[in-house]
């Protein structure tokens, strides 16, 4: 069940310049139905910054009631979060969005694509798929260059294979994540992706070429995070039940969509 709860900083580390990893203790949150691909809204304590910051779940621990957020500092809200000391608290709205249906991925060869700050939610997905057992997991992670790598080693714990691509070719395969997947001749049964919009468009086309299902995690500026304000919509192939106008709410019907269902 969604709620507003207090989250206390356990610790924060800088993974690479501008990218931070923060573990938060959330004793008041309801973890019963938390899924990979879901997100939280973190309220800054700065009283002039009133909207929740949507940040995807990078890891969750339902037993300890902790969550890990890995995020880029993009403005005053994320700057405040990254600079907060252990023991400091934030109000958090969660858990939001639909998340990945891992039962639909089980037992298959799932290729998880992450680009830049779209990489963190794929870690929780890899972890959950590994827990579920059978099936092959490949991660294809795209970065700017060797100096901007983060989380890549952690994917190794849960994936059968981790492929790195970089824009500048300084490490891994020189090119996009799709270039890397094609060069590696991957044969996925299903594809999951989170990253910048040009990458998601490429993944949609890639999956269509291979004739496999793709699940894309979309991002858009949002205000409420719970489906009220209609700020974060995306164009859909079919009329969704809520909007009645081919506009699904990324915060509620998404952020994870079947690529065939969204016009991106």
């Amino acid at each position: 069940m969604k709620s507003v709860f207090d989250a206390e900083i356990i610790g924060t580390e800088c993974l690479t310049p501008g990218i931070f990893s923060t573990w938060l203790s959330c004793p008041g949150a309801d973890f019963a139905e938390v899924k990979p691909g879901q997100f939280v809204g973190v309220f800054p304590n700065d009283p002039s910054a009133l909207l929740p910051r949507p940040i995807s779940l990078c890891e969750t621990d339902a037993e300890k009631k902790t969550v890990r957020l890995v995020y880029r500092t993009a403005g005053k809200g994320t700057a405040e979060l990254s600079g907060a000391l252990p023991g400091q608290s934030f109000r958090v709205l969660g858990f939001l969005g639909n998340g990945y249906r891992t039962d639909a991925l089980r037992g298959k060869h799932a290729v998880l694509f992450g680009g830049g700050i779209g990489i963190p939610p794929m870690l929780e997905l890899a972890k959950e798929l590994r827990k579920a057992g059978e099936g092959r997991i490949t991660a294809v992670l795209g970065y700017r260059g060797a100096e901007s790598l983060f989380l890549d080693e952690e994917f190794g714990k849960y994936c059968d294979e981790v492929i790195i691509s970089t824009d500048d070719g300084s490490t891994g395969i020189h090119g996009t994540v799709i270039d890397a997947a094609e060069l590696s001749e991957l044969r996925p049964d299903v594809v999951c992706a989170c990253g910048p919009m040009p990458m998601l468009r490429g993944i949609k086309a890639y999956a269509a070429r291979l004739g496999v299902q793709a699940f894309l995690s979309l991002e858009e500026r949002m205000a409420c995070g719970v489906g009220v304000c209609l700020g974060c919509v995306c164009r859909t192939a079919h009329k969704d039940a809520h909007s009645n106008v081919n506009n699904a709410r990324i915060c509620t019907e998404g952020p994870v969509f079947d690529a065939a269902e969204v016009e991106i």
Partner: protein, 310 residues
Amino acid sequence: MMTSDQSRPSLKVSIAGVVLKNPVMTASGTFGSGMEYSEFTDLSRLGAVVTKGVSREPWTGNPTPRVTETASGMLNAIGLQNPGAEVFIRRDLPFLREQDTRVIVNVCGHSEEEYLEAVRFLNDAEGIDLYEINVSCPNVKEGGIAFGQDPEKLCRITDRIRQISAHPIIMKLSPNVTDIAEMARAAEAGGADAVSLINTLTGMQIDVERRRFVLANRTGGLSGPAIKPVAVRMVYQAAQAVSVPVIGMGGIATAADAVEFMLAGASAVAVGMMNFHNPHVTAEIAEGIENYLVRHGIADVNELVGAVTG
């Protein structure tokens, strides 16, 4: 000696003969049709739920990005996306009817005829207490604000809607005018049962790194605590100008803010953007108003209306 129960102040207010259990309502567009926030807040603790704007046909709204944060506020250019009156009546209204709160349906259109069509269609539905007519949305190119910035057009559309409406009508006024008192008088002259204000102030934000407009619509409506002093001033001016009830809104975040609007002349208040900051805020404000009345020994919340002096 009074029992403790009798000493509780009365929070009831009346808008055009419709009694609300307390003066706190939700501002249109910040609460959907109540379903989403009912997970967080007991809607029966609110005086009324004001719905997202409803048009006769479904509206797609504007391209994204549609929202952005500003200092103590936000800009939005949603463009009144809504599923249309049929889906609203079939899906949202039955839910709202069950909530033990008043239901105020916000109505929008691109032309006089579209407003009239929407009202005619909604008239047959069960469970609507009042209409709020949105003649002040800054984010749709035709209709909307065109009526809210011209006193003659405002008077005329108010009169035409009033003639066919099955329920009392609240005209929602735009702050993007030179003389708010003139607009309030025009609505009253057209037969409005109440006026509500303010809608959002037209604003703009530019991403200086990318040198681009942040919103796809370029301009958007500013709301949140940043606009509160402007709203209080306009509510005061409107309340001085008309004798119909004024519903005050614009940046209300606390019970003290709500009391401030009532002292300026508002008979009831609506909470908007702050729902996004705290989904419990409306019920907390209703409770806070009661505490204020107790603290000041005031028996009836209506005593606050227009009570500012000095």
